[in-house]
């Protein structure tokens, strides 16, 4: 496999890279500098300067600030220390799956069985996560990354 060009990485991020090329990338040994290269592309795209140290998930980054490593949305919204679940700083909507907005009634649970918990960025309203859980289930803390330079 030839080395990935910056344009290809950028397209991969956007979901526009040709699928045959994606397949080649999947079959090839992994390029070990991928994380740094993708973060550099993401960094250029953002309208703020905090240095990204990790892409946590869609739209969310862990950035290095004077106050330590914090979670920040693509739009710039701060969610706080990465060791605390970012969902605790989000807007939450507990959706009744039978509300008719998304699923046909016969294809969705009733809220007695399960609700859909939606987490929004308080600034840009991006839907950051959904949790299909019964009422009363705690938030799921999906990812606490390991950093060599600090203890979680």
């Amino acid at each position: 496999m030839s080395l990935l060009e910056e344009k290809e990485l950028s397209d991969l991020l956007d979901g526009t890279l040709d699928l045959e090329r994606v397949r080649e990338i999947q079959r090839a040994p992994k390029d070990l500098d991928r994380r740094e290269r993708l973060l550099a592309i993401e960094q250029k795209r953002l309208g703020w300067k905090d240095r990204i140290v990790l892409a946590l998930q869609e739209s969310l980054f862990i950035v290095q600030t004077d106050a330590g490593k914090t979670v920040r949305c693509r739009c710039g919204h701060h969610f706080g220390d990465y060791r605390r679940n970012w969902k605790e700083s989000a807007l939450v909507h507990e959706r009744d799956p039978q509300d008719g907005e998304l699923y046909a009634s016969a294809n969705a649970p009733t809220k007695d069985w399960m609700i859909l918990r939606e987490f929004y960025c308080p600034t840009c309203a991006t839907l950051l996560d959904t949790e299909n859980v019964p009422q009363g289930y705690p938030f799921i803390f999906n990812f606490l990354p390991y950093f060599q330079d600090e203890k979680p």
């Binding site: 979901g15 992994k30 070990l32 998930q57 699923y103 016969a106 991006t126």
Partner: protein, 713 residues
């Protein structure tokens, strides 16, 4: 003397197995050095290629001998070669769930003194389908033969396949009514069923008189035996060519080499950290309504080790939505091999890397062997959760080409009876091997593509299924809005419409799940829809056929499906898709969804043109296009970009208006705990969860700020 390798051939297997376990426990390795690889790396690879080629050939041969559509067409099998102590050296493609289940069966025989009490001789044939020994449920059937060189046992060969009629209380071996092991059909725990390379006649009589239709069990047994014998022939050839000493040593090296490669791969590609995801299953029967959860914590160390901890898993109970530890482990292998170790060998070395903790007494580690395991339940959910976590670990490292949301819960018809030719039939339709696949971080999930447990993903021809189970297909199409919504949508599964035949006897039902979302979305994607079975009785189909009037073939509008609007009859809607098999009169309609993948990313980031394409192809409904994706189309079907952006802004504004800060939300829900204002299903789940002391319980109470002695009223 090296007890484990035993070049003398005189040390009892039990002693060798004990020595092997002690070595692994003490060193964390299978062997300490791979001398043959170090001295001749090319020869090392050449030998392996010969080995794997032979085993793949064996699987192909077995498929030709087999009778069942699942083994012939769907690739529901795996064949393998094992060390004398039962460790897998090399396995064919196929059912990756069973990387270690045949190993467990061989070790069980060794531990239980088969060498002295039952006898292990050249030409012997052993059968196992006991999931507590090694397997998933009664349909997972193993044929294992010992390999000898002169009078020395030098290994084992085996084949595993899914046989979908086992004489259970419902046809097809899988059904929600199976509440104990004694409902699940015929179990033969590591039984010697043949000698001198021939099956015993009394074994075949036992099977023939214990199941509804024995042809699949018996012929698929022969298929696996044929494959295992081909492996035996290949091993004989390799021993003749390279010598016994080389053969025995190199097998051990393949295992150790795989262990090292597996750790190395994980260290290179998965970002270290602590990951948590949750999978769900449940039971919705009149006497038991219960959610089962699999809260999985996956820890990936910087050194490349992986620990899967299921603390908090729901307890075992009188239902079939649970699994054995071998199956829980197998599901994890299946996930990891397909998504991480697809370019390394897989064998016992893979298994040595994976550490897992499954609470005793839980629904994936039942307290005794009498608990039913037919429907696997939270083991599958645990695999889903681990998969989600692996995707997060890839994402963090930038390997977006490996990131995907959740695979489908598979759902299928089970049927038995006597067909129009007066033949006995029974089994299940495995067309859900072509379920909708997960969305990825770079493209939509594929429609009717695969099932996680069977990566070969083939629905089988409708005509073959009609001869195997005499239901008449009126249509087999792609489920509308089947894939979970998202920036990239999940793949949609099959939506099959059947007419029941006029045959002497028919039991018909389905296995599916509880009325819940079975496949969670990832990073903002929505879950796949709940599967729903429709049964329409007392229809006017016969009259319609006689008058050549249109019949329902497709789903139509999911909110008002064609089987309801285009035929008269009494409609029963089965939410979740579990339907105990029963007699259903001829000319009834029966709708079976296969399974759908979940979505990835925020729906409002989906390219409007992709929504339009799906709408044009009938995969997305107009309701979803407009209401979920916020896409506005002109009267002639062209995307109005300006209006779309305006509508999406409105949806964003609505999100901000209805979303409440998380701390307020927590206070509100906490009050429900204090007042007891929670649904019965939640209370049952939490009552069970909080009765087990551990990490999950502690964190649960801390999250809701509840006292340490809190109990659900």
């Amino acid at each position: 003397m090296n007890v484990m390798l035993d070049l003398s051939g005189k040390i009892p297997l039990k002693e060798r197995l004990r020595a092997r376990r002690a070595h692994i426990e003490a060193t964390g390795t299978y062997i300490e050095r791979c001398t043959l690889k170090e001295t001749d790396p090319i020869g090392f690879e050449v030998f392996y290629t010969k080995l794997s080629q032979s085993i793949n050939n064996a699987r192909d041969l077995a498929r030709q001998v087999a009778a069942s559509p699942e083994m012939r067409e769907m690739g529901e099998s795996v064949l393998g070669l094992f060390t004398p102590e039962g460790d897998a050296i090399c396995l064919s493609p196929g059912l990756m769930v069973h990387v270690r289940t045949m190993s467990r069966a061989i070790k069980w025989m060794i531990d239980n003194d088969y060498e002295t009490d039952v006898g292990i001789n050249p030409g012997d044939i052993f059968f196992n389908n006991d999931p507590y020994i090694g397997g998933g449920h009664a349909p997972d059937q193993q044929i294992i033969i010992p390999l000898f060189h002169d009078d020395r046992l030098i290994g084992w060969a085996g084949g595993m396949s899914h046989v979908s009629e086992v004489g259970a209380v419902e046809p097809g071996g899988m059904g929600i009514s199976m509440k104990t092991r004694f409902h699940e059909g015929l179990y033969l725990p590591c039984m010697k069923v043949g000698e001198g390379d021939l099956f015993k006649r009394d074994y075949e009589i036992l099977v023939d008189r214990s199941v509804r239709a024995s042809v699949w069990w018996l012929l698929d047994s022969r298929a696996k035996l044929a494959g295992a014998k081909l492996i035996r022939d290949a091993v004989r050839g390799l021993v003749a060519e390279y010598g016994l000493d080389h053969y025995l040593r190199i097998g051990e090296e393949y295992i150790e080499d795989t262990r090292r490669a597996t750790i190395d791969k994980m260290r290179r590609v998965l970002y270290p950290g602590r990951y948590r995801d949750v999978g769900w299953r449940g039971i919705d029967e009149p006497d038991l309504r219960q959610l089962l959860h699999a809260p999985i914590q996956t820890t990936i160390s910087p050194e490349g080790r992986i620990l899967v901890d299921a603390d908090g898993l729901s307890s075992a109970g009188p239902h079939p939505v649970q699994a054995t530890v071998p199956l829980f482990e197998g599901i994890l292998f299946s996930s990891l091999i397909q998504h991480v170790f697809y370019d390394t060998r897989y064998n016992e070395g893979t298994a040595l890397v994976l550490e897992h903790r499954v609470p005793e007494g839980s629904a994936c580690n039942p307290p005794d062997i009498y608990h039913a395991t037919a429907l696997w339940g939270p083991a599958f959910a645990g695999g889903i959760a681990c998969n989600q976590s692996i995707s997060r670990a890839y994402y963090a490292n930038g390997y977006r080409e490996e990131v995907h949301s959740c695979n489908a819960q598979v759902n299928a018809i089970i049927a038995g009876g006597i067909d129009l030719f007066n033949r006995k039939f029974a089994g299940w339709n495995m067309e859900m091997c072509a379920s909708g696949s997960y969305a990825t971080a770079f493209m939509d999930g594929l429609d009717t593509a695969l099932a996680e447990f069977n990566a070969e993903g083939d629905s089988g021809d409708a005509e073959i299924w009609e001869t195997a189970l005499p239901l008449i297909y009126l249509g087999r199409t792609i489920r509308v809005d089947g894939g979970g919504f998202g920036r990239f949508r999940g793949g949609a599964g099959l939506y099959s419409v059947y007419m029941t035949p006029d045959v002497p006897k028919l039991e018909l039902g389905s296995f599916g799940g509880a009325p819940i979302f079975p496949a969670p979305g990832l990073m903002g994607g929505y879950p796949a829809p709940m599967p729903t079975v429709y049964v329409v009785r007392n229809t006017d189909l016969k009259e319609r056929i006689e008058k050549r009037l249109p019949l329902p073939h497709h789903e139509g509008d999911p909110a008002s499906p064609d089987v309801v609007t285009q035929a008269k009859g009494d409609v029963e809607v089965v939410r979740g898709g579990n339907y105990i098999a029963r007699n259903i009169q001829p000319y009834s309609l029966y709708v079976q969804p296969g399974g759908d993948g979940s979505g990835f990313g925020d729906v409002l980031c989906r390219e409007p043109e992709k929504v339009k394409r799906d709408l044009d192809n009938g995969v997305t409904s107009r309701h979803a296009a407009e209401s979920v994706y916020g896409v506005v189309l002109s009267k002639d079907g062209v995307v109005d970009l300006a209006a779309t952006e305006k509508r999406r802004e409105e949806i964003r504004a609505r999100r901000l208006a209805r979303g409440i800060p998380a701390d307020q939300y927590r206070k509100k829900v906490r009050q429900k705990f204090l007042s007891g204002d929670l649904p019965a299903v939640s209370k049952t789940l939490f009552r069970d969860t909080l009765s087990n002391h551990g990490r999950f319980r502690d964190e649960f109470l801390e999250f809701w700020e509840l006292p340490s002695d809190f109990a659900i009223a």
